[in-house]
């Protein structure tokens, strides 16, 4: 999708504070185009916060975060970061898809309208065109027959699949998943992971914060373990899972496996 060489996501020493609480204490990582990275770690480790920094839902306090070669939410002048005007932040954000733990579908709109909203309002696409593409996307996540249902009429798994379709409608070059299956009943997890597996197979660049170790082992190209705002360990998922090098990783894995 991108003509530029270099990683799709490049984080350099990213710091994030809430008051005195340091949530991210120097995160550095690279995600290549087409790569799937899974991020695991105990709650409060900062993994969700990092994800929210990638599309500038949270401003960062220090370091650099590049997506596809450009800084996210900032421009650099004289070695200092300056926040971009809202319009420019929105333009860059629109190219990054995000899927939330609690789906966050627009409750007052049908599944189809949810998927159309971004293209019609942000990209000013004609409604008919957006509707046709929205139907294709709903078909792709297996919900063609639910186009006119409101979110409250759908199961959690169905809502999350609509949310994925909504993010894909913007033709993102990067997809962020924030614990996409954590709020689901166990029997509904599979249908969402199947859709994500399909996306990964098509070459979408993805960062997935998850507790699904099985999914990480099978689908991810790289696995990152975070704890207390730092990356403790990273590498190919099979290696990290089979033979963790750090005590904390070992303890975490034994508690979730």
């Amino acid at each position: 999708m991108s003509a530029k060489a270099g990683p799709m996501v490049l984080a350099e020493n990213v710091h994030k504070r809430y008051g005195n609480l340091e949530v991210l204490r120097g995160i550095s990582l690279e995600v290549a185009a087409g790569e799937v990275m899974c991020v695991i770690g105990p709650s409060g480790s900062g993994k969700s916060t990092f994800l929210r920094c990638v599309n500038h839902l949270e401003p960062i306090n220090a370091g650099r975060l590049h997506v596809d070669g450009t800084l996210v939410g900032y421009h650099e002048r004289g070695g200092r970061l300056h926040e971009l005007p809202e319009k420019e932040v929105n333009r860059r954000r629109a190219e990054i898809g995000m899927v939330f733990q609690r789906f966050n579908l627009f409750q007052h709109r049908t599944a189809l309208e949810n998927v159309m909203e971004g293209p019609v309002i942000v990209r000013r696409q004609p409604r008919a065109e957006a509707a046709e593409r929205a139907r294709q996307l709903l078909d792709r996540v297996g919900l063609a027959d639910k186009a006119d249902a409101y979110p409250s009429q759908l199961s959690g798994g169905q809502q999350q699949r609509v949310a994925i379709a909504r993010a894909l409608a913007m033709r993102p070059k990067l997809m962020l998943f924030d614990e996409p299956t954590s709020a689901l009943d166990p029997e509904l997890v599979g249908e969402v992971l199947d859709v994500m597996r399909g996306l990964a197979a098509e070459g979408m660049t993805m960062i997935v914060v998850t507790h699904e170790i099985g999914f990480a082992r099978e689908v991810a190209d790289s696995l990152v373990f975070m704890d207390q705002g730092v990356i403790v360990e990273s590498g190919p998922p099979r290696e990290v899972i089979a033979s963790p090098q750090h005590e904390r990783t070992r303890a975490f894995l034994s508690s979730v496996l």
Binding site: L57, E86, N90, A94, M98, R102, N104, F106, V122, Y150
Partner: protein
């Protein structure tokens, strides 16, 4: 049974007691004077509510601004207009000329573009509109703010993640969902407003109440004419109640699993249930 007897006595008294003067009620119910008053009452309600709603939205947005000065101005406004009686505010606007004999539009402390005597600008009707509308805005501000706060933060985040601006998010995502919380108390406010417009009779604005007062000051049929006014107020609040029901139904899309039945539908259903108390099957499944 006791209630039924009491109600029967009440109705009997209402119909037979001469003092109510039903023939007089019938005579004036649709008279031109009364109907003109009714029109003024409706006009006052609509305009004052419009000012109240628009002002309320502006004040609510200001109140939630991160800028403390903007938020403070809104707080001060609400504090003042909620803290003083509406009747006092109405009299105050009506007597504004005593305080500022001339009003004008221009550069502060500089030249004026338009100016005129306050008495020609603030007529009784304008004073009534200002008093009712500006007072209402203070109440609406709190209602709108409660509506905004009721919308889950995840909705705003999802909108931002799609690249929507703050204004687009407010207009497309937050406000429509806040409406569900804003509408019911706004309906109450409209009904209160309709009745509160009767206060403007003290400013000699020819509303419904003032119209009947004028009539009974001439013919001394006080009670029948007050009944005429009450009947009209009741008719209008009933219409508003039904209207509110349909507006609420419209904005409950997506939050209720299926739309509640229409007003007539519910009436029909209730009549059926009185005859056959246990409905055999639940109504149609949602899809």
């Amino acid at each position: 049974m006791v209630v039924a007897v009491l109600v029967a006595m009440g109705v009997h008294g209402l119909v037979t007691e001469k003092g109510f003067g039903w023939p007089v009620v019938g005579q004036y119910f649709a008279s031109t004077q009364v109907l003109n008053g009714l029109l003024v009452t409706i006009e006052l309600t609509v305009i004052a509510m419009a000012i109240g709603v628009v002002g309320g939205i502006i004040l609510a947005v200001m109140r939630m601004s991160p800028n403390p000065l903007v938020g403070g101005v809104s707080w001060l406004y609400i504090w003042f207009f909620r803290g003083t009686p509406l009747l006092v505010q109405l009299l105050f606007w009506f007597n504004l000329a005593a305080l500022f004999p001339r009003l004008g539009l221009g550069v502060p402390f500089g030249p004026q573009f338009v100016s005129g005597s306050a008495n020609s600008f603030i007529t009784a009707f304008v004073a009534a509109i200002l008093g009712l509308g500006l007072n209402e805005a203070a109440y609406m501000a709190e209602i709108v703010r409660a509506g905004f706060l009721s919308v889950d933060e995840g909705q705003t985040e999802a909108a931002h993640a799609l690249g929507m601006s703050r204004m687009q998010t407010m207009r497309r995502v937050v406000l429509p969902q806040a409406m569900r919380v804003i509408i019911p108390p706004t309906g109450n406010e409209t009904i209160s407003m309709l009745k509160n417009t009767s206060l403007v009779s003290v400013l000699a604005v020819s509303d419904l109440l003032y119209a009947v007062q004028l009539i009974y000051s001439r013919n001394y049929q006080t009670v029948p004419l007050l009944i005429v006014a009450s009947l009209w107020y009741l008719i209008m609040t009933t219409v508003l109640t039904i209207g509110q029901y349909y507006v609420e139904r419209h904005y409950s899309r997506g939050s209720a699993r299926r739309l509640p039945p229409t007003f007539l539908g519910r009436l029909r259903e209730n009549l059926v249930t009185i005859r056959r108390p246990l409905p055999a099957v639940p109504r149609g499944e949602w899809r």
